[in-house]
Amino acid sequence: MTNKIKSITNPKISLNILSDEEVQRIHQATLQIIEKVGVRFPSLKTLALWEEFGATVDHEKMVVRVKADTIEKALKNAPPIFTLGAQDIQQDCPLDGNHVFLATDGCGVEVIDIHTGNRRVSSLQDVADIAHIADGTEEIGFHWVALSAQDKPAETRGLHEIKAVWSNSTKHVQTESIYHETEARIAVEMAVALAGGKQELRNHPVLSLMQCTASPLGQDGGSLDAALIAAEAGIPTGFMTMAANLTTGPATLSGNLVVGNAEVISALALIQLAFPGAPVFYAAAQTASDLRSGAYTGGGPEDFLYGAATNRLADFYNIPLSMGAFATGAKEPNWQAGVENSLSSFMACISMSDMLLGAGFLHGSRIWSYAQMMLDCEIFAIVHKMMQGIAVDDESLAIDTIAAVGPGGNFLSQKHTLKHMRKIFLPQFMDRRPYNVWEEKGDNARDWAIAKALNKLENHHPHPLDPKLEAELEKMISSLEMGIAHEAKH
């Protein structure tokens, strides 16, 4: 049975966060930084590529300086529209500028156990369970690998994780946890097997890879090598900046956007130079560091503004965006989580970020909470409803109905009401009960959210992976593990 996906489309409301001139100034400042200051590319392979493409390469510092023209021309090759392929094609996510898809967030290290409520270290089974629940949740459009499978070897962990998600869901999988060349090669092999061939994978990529930049103005070597392997195979590849005010970026918002933008577009330009036309995406989760501790905050007005501003930049380059929203810094699903996740997701949605990350985390994307996952889905559903705006036409103006009721009556028994009432949003996790009922029951949204997740885990049955294919994928992973063991012996 296909589970439909709830995505935001045909928005009726919009926001003007940066003028054309302001976007242009950010762009020009970015080009100036890339050309004069440079960006660190600590991978011999990418340095050689940059040299070939005419950049000035400082081999000792591994910093490249690239002419504005080279960057601009390269980015023009990036496809403006492509689709994240799902095993079930009904669940494909077209990144066409007219859809916002929500994913689970990643990649955390601890989980609040769904049965015991205790916090513990994450394992492969958690990755599988989250995928299972997300598969049966209409607000979740695709997966990010949510937790680190810390019971699996570091060298192949990312592969075990994507296999666990594919085995528990037909939706698209995106991972940020494959950042070495060897692991990326096997990931491509696995994706080819799942898609049914190399060309099939290119046409319908069932996997996408997200890499993190190393702010300020740097990349990670292994991530670059992995991204090139993926891009060559036609797997959508993105780079995410998390440059944060005060620490990895300047204290000012536009300055911080420049730092992040320089990291992302320099990496995407390299991919385009190496493999023109390869599907790439812009990714960002910029925020402000806390003034007192310097910690990543994952919330606050700066964070919310970035949510909308980054999509203006991605639109300017005509490249899909994966926007880090949600990801509250709260320690439990509470007031702070509600405020932060509502405002951040709203700002990212109103600017029509193509991919929205993501549901389910506490403490700045470190601790998975099934309750928070469900509550985040409700936030997305609310924003989804708001994005439809207010219809104004003869039917919705309801003049005849208003006239029929007249002064002092009520609208409850009107046919017009019956016809339209189901468009009114009905929350799952808002407490609208009478005060005494609340007092007597003593339960709350968190309890309902956990119960909902548990119900999906027990009663939703994901479409299983073909056992032959599953064995094939397992074999690919173990071949890498045996190779590593063999190498260690010698």
């Binding site: 290290v109 270290v121 810390q150 570091a154 204290a251 003034l291 007192r292 310097g294 470190r366």
Partner: protein, 215 residues
């Protein structure tokens, strides 16, 4: 005259002005003042003032860092004169800091380094992507009291354990305390690998380090 100079020294720290801090240090040397006295009566007063303002919520992390940098510059400028006089600044202890092998994330580790040195530790920052053997060699060479290990990835976090295991196997574990840090580091992980302490942020790292050396 020295009183006035000490006040200016303190002010240079509060303002986070490295150049002024260095110039004042040179002035003190030229005037024949005792460098140790310049540190304790001049610069340290500034560090304490910023620390107090931070505790009261009036100053913020960038001000602490800038004060730390200015302090470092002042001490470095006074170092040759201290050597000439055969005196040494008493520190809280020696800390060897590194981001573990395979990991290039720098900022958290460097921030901890600045905070520790501002608090009075002698810090040897080995940088990022540092091999286990190199970290241990350095710790032995300088007779470090503490090794501080940073990791941002769950896949590189295992190197924190490797350092502790290597210390164990070499019979060196009792000679040095090990602190770990980085976004994925949790209390459970710290217990699992048998580290001596951890903190989620740089301010907390200072109190942990002080505890570990009994200061």
């Amino acid at each position: 005259m020295s009183r006035e100079l000490y006040t200016k020294m303190s002010q240079s720290i509060v303002a986070g002005d490295c150049e002024a801090a260095a110039a004042l240090a040179q002035q003190a040397v030229a005037a024949g003042l005792d460098p140790l006295e310049a540190i304790t009566q001049g610069y340290v007063a500034g560090v304490n003032q910023v620390g107090e303002a931070f505790t009261n919520g009036e100053a913020f992390l960038p001000e602490l860092v800038m004060a730390g940098e200015a302090m470092k510059t002042a001490v470095a400028t006074l170092e040759p004169e201290m050597k000439r006089r055969g005196t040494e600044r008493k520190t809280l202890g020696k800390v060897v800091l590194a981001t573990v092998e395979g990991d290039i994330h720098e900022i958290g580790k460097s921030l901890v380094g600045t905070m520790l040195s501002a608090a009075g530790f002698e810090v040897f920052d080995l940088g990022v992507n540092v091999a286990t053997t190199k970290i241990i060699e350095k710790a032995q060479e300088v007779q470090a009291d503490i090794i501080g290990l940073s990791a941002l990835l769950t896949t590189t976090m295992v190197k924190q354990r490797e350092v502790i295991e290597t210390l164990n196997n070499a019979g060196l574990r009792q000679t040095v305390k090990v602190m770990v840090g980085g976004a994925p580091v949790t209390r459970d992980w710290v217990q699992q690998i048998g580290a001596d302490g951890y903190s989620e942020d740089a301010i907390g790292a200072v109190s942990v380090a002080k505890q570990l050396v009994g200061a």
